[in-house]
Symmetry: C2
Subunit: 173 residues, 2 copies
């Protein structure tokens, strides 16, 4: 599948409503921490996405457009969602929706051409990357975290499903 900017945007613009449909009004036991090594709570995931809108995707796009590979990106703070535990999930969902809309407006205003997707930037750990890779990663990062939320939610029922567990791949990875 050859990434088209419009395909990437189609995923990015849907994520806030996907997360709202999944999480808004959900009873508290689903939103908090569960046991297990992968016990990232769903509300923390939303907080992490909020933090990414502020510090990761569009800021890095701007670095590439302004400086190319000459200026490495700022490191992304994966713990930057720290406060999310004290914020209602509905507030985080609103914040994500607002920030994502602004991000996509900024993306549209940058007027990228197909040729721009090959422009190079520099990741502080990964080295040379392209603008197209940054945008594809933004979309997959969303999908990754939707997958993480449903995985963590499922883990809370790993015992409750009884012998069906063996049929449910999400409980066996």
């Amino acid at each position: 599948m050859e990434p088209e900017l419009s395909d990437i945007v189609a995923v990015l613009e849907r994520t806030p409503s996907v997360l709202r449909a999944l999480l808004q009004g959900l009873p508290e036991p689903w939103l908090g921490k569960h046991e297990g090594p992968d016990a990232f709570a769903p509300r923390e995931v939303v907080g992490h996405l909020v933090h990414g809108e502020k510090t990761d995707w569009i800021p890095r796009l701007r670095v590439i457009l302004a400086h190319g590979a000459a200026q490495p990106f700022e490191r992304f703070d994966r713990q930057g969602y720290r406060d999310a535990d004290r914020v209602p999930v509905a507030v985080l969902l609103d914040e994500l929706e607002t920030l994502r809309r602004a991000s996509l407006e900024a993306l549209a205003q940058s007027g990228l051409t197909r040729a721009d997707l090959a422009r190079e930037g520099r990741h502080p750990e990964l080295g040379p990357v392209t603008l197209g890779q940054l945008l594809a990663t933004w979309a997959v990062h969303d999908l990754n975290h939707i997958g993480q939320i449903v995985r963590v939610m499922s883990a809370g029922y790993a015992t409750a499903v009884g012998p069906w567990k063996q049929y449910l791949g999400i409980l066996n990875r």
Copy 2:
């Protein structure tokens, strides 16, 4: 996490709108088959969930309530979504929404008590199961397939993300 019927219903009632938010109007490249061993197409997943509403969850609930463990469930046809490839995803999403609403009405009308969750049924392969396990499995089955859709979508961009692939767990399982 001890399953409560209301917690299970909270997941079940959200799934059609989660899938609609994720898939409706999504460009075709995301909806069809991708390469790789896990190449279940997103629209087939919706077709599979539609088939489950018709033949799996509420029918099995009724078998337990009527016959207990004396009558094994019918086997579930995991390929019963076969026609989904020829049906627009918006049609499948509508069908899932309608069927799920009817399923949850049937569940509510069955007036289950907490004690009912311990009632036994018999799975044709797994043997003894409880009504509570059936309902918990229904919810995790939804989450499992949401996770499958985002995983299959992500796989289409496994190359496009370039060196970021190593940070994206969804591409490395």
